[in-house]
Symmetry: none
Subunit: 365 residues, 2 copies
């Protein structure tokens, strides 16, 4: 299966959109809206969303630490100080995420997403002025003006905030500014339930994928034992999937650790997690009833040799009643080449599944 | 071969469009225009076409029988009574089909296809008022007004028609109203001859597929021995194909019986027809000259277990001179997985064929 198309290096977000049946080429404008949705923010069509860092600047707005000492505590209070800010006719919604991370959502008329970042992406340089990336783009010029003002005011509001006074007293860098980056226009996406008449839940380990799922109207199931790394408790994740099937008739599950091991170039961690995943899939098969389908695949390849996502195709298997069988016996990149699915794409998966489930309307007569 | 795309449950109409090289996603708006073309009506781009039933209503317009006692005789005379009706600046063309069936074509300026049916699809309720399905759709609002008036006038014209007087005298329900349903906007489709410089005929068993073929400008060859069911005389169909090749250089042939056996859940009928089709293909191969290509495939799968069209891929074989051969020896769903075509789509077929026939212009220099 090619998550997007042969050779395309998919991100987890674009791939998940495709795998869930939403063409990323027409729906994806950046990860901002999905990051914001992933931390529970209300993101609506036409909003402009940014990923943000709490950072440390000096009084000349020179960046000293892009992560404010990887701040762990007090971000909820800092977020509350800037959340709801009104600039011109635009409302700025801000929410903290894990550690120094957060998300900004701008809502108001006539905003565009073609803007550069105020985050300079390096230290010892001044905070940047956001600009529209294309000339005569009035909507993005307005967004740039708003985001520059938001950045400036965040400094005014945070620099003497009690959380930062305490941080300075403790010898820690203050989280005295918010630096937005990666503007994305929130797309209109038909909800998963509207599109497929299924009731979906998501058991996933990362905020970005939770954001995709939440954006599509899926309920998010939290698994306290899930770490998002190669050490994650995949048995607990499997149990959560099985339990979710009591209340939902579609469960998206993403285990992140193999990707992490790939990025880290750690083959042992990858192999060990795959061995544990193998057992988890056995759990799911054992728990399946005669109506259950299991689709096993990856959102992209992360080869040890590349230490990043590659554009290679990934193995995929459909398991369940009435599936046309083939002679393939093993599930790995080389063995599946002879399989009956031949070469499909991510966007085909939901069509194949809803056909098998006999919930897909006939196209034509 | 995926008739439309992997997993998509194709209808016979959408699949035939695709197989003949017309993308259904951009050309298909409903079966109405093809049903009308299939009974020999002149359907033009922009026309609005409906499938219709002769039905029986009482004087309060309550439907007593949606099929007017499955009327067999006199429908040509009844059709003549309403055919050519002028409502505002719209002309209403009507023609009877088999039994209680017929088709209505509206031709005039500014018509839309987004209308509900006057056919209530059940008895003991009043004939419905057609309405535009979207607010502010002036074109469809006009169509709704026309179709409501057509329905009302059909009652006025038919209720005392001699055919119905005789039916009442014979104790049969009168065919005293025409109920249109399934509005479709007739698309502009380049004719098959314009598109491929081929002279095409169609040897097909159903009105809907004949309608697709006629709409594309194919000549329709009637085979009196063809029944459209598993008992059809496929030898006669094969002879008609071979004879048509004297006058045409492309012949579309569809044998319907396996689909019927699939819908009926009758594996024995399906197997027996496949065995007879096997012999028919042998006839075609024996009759072929050194320039002949035969493409053998299905417009969709109709598995016995599903008893309806499924979104599974279907086997396909190209036979003729100069085709790159592979090692596949059998023509069935599992064996062809190892074939050299891998996984193609319906819309690819005509490009592959016209390439083999060396009648396809080069794309580029």
């Amino acid at each position: 299966m090619d998550p997007i198309a042969p050779g395309i290096r998919a991100g987890s977000d674009t791939s998940h959109l495709a795998i869930l049946g939403y063409d990323p080429f027409t729906t994806y404008t950046g990860r901002g809206p999905f990051e914001a949705a992933g931390i529970g923010m209300d993101v609506r069509k036409g909003d402009i969303a940014f990923r943000c860092n709490f950072a440390t600047v000096d009084e000349d707005m020179v960046v000293l630490d892009r992560r404010a000492g990887r701040i762990e505590e007090g971000t909820h209070e800092l977020a509350a100080a800037v959340h709801g800010m009104q600039i011109e006719d635009v409302t700025c919604y801000f929410k903290e995420s894990v550690a120094h991370r957060g998300a900004l959502v701008l809502r108001g008329p006539g905003l565009g997403a073609g803007v550069t970042d105020t985050d300079p992406h390096e230290t010892t340089v001044k905070v940047h002025e956001a600009e529209a990336t294309a000339p005569n783009d009035e909507a993005s010029t307005k967004t740039a003006r708003i985001v520059n003002e938001f950045t400036r005011r965040s400094y005014e509001l945070l620099k003497e905030h009690p959380v930062n006074k305490k941080r300075r007293a403790d010898g820690k860098p203050p989280a005295n500014i918010i630096l937005p980056r990666g503007a994305g226009l929130a797309p209109h996406l038909e909800s998963f339930t509207e599109k497929y008449s299924l009731k979906p839940a998501a058991v996933v380990e990362t905020g970005l994928i939770a954001g995709i799922a939440a954006y599509l109207g899926m309920d998010i199931v939290h698994v306290p034992e899930a770490t998002g790394g190669p050490d994650s408790d995949v048995t607990a994740i499997g149990r959560a999937v099985i339990k979710a099937l009591d209340d939902y008739n579609f469960v998206l599950c993403n285990v992140k650790g193999c990707d992490v091991a790939g990025h880290d170039g750690d083959p042992d961690a990858k192999v060990q997690l795959i061995e544990r995943l193998d057992k988890m899939v056995g759990m799911l098969v054992d728990a399946a009833d005669e109506y259950t389908y299991i689709i096993l695949t990856a959102d992209h390849s992360t080869p040890i040799a590349v230490r990043d996502h590659s554009g290679d195709p990934v193995p995929i298997a459909f398991w369940g009643p009435g599936i046309r069988i083939d002679s393939t016996q093993a599930f790995d990149e080389r063995s599946v080449v002879g399989g009956g699915l031949l070469r499909i794409r991510g966007v085909d998966i939901m069509n194949i599944l809803t056909n098998l489930m006999t919930v897909q309307p006939k196209y034509g007569a």
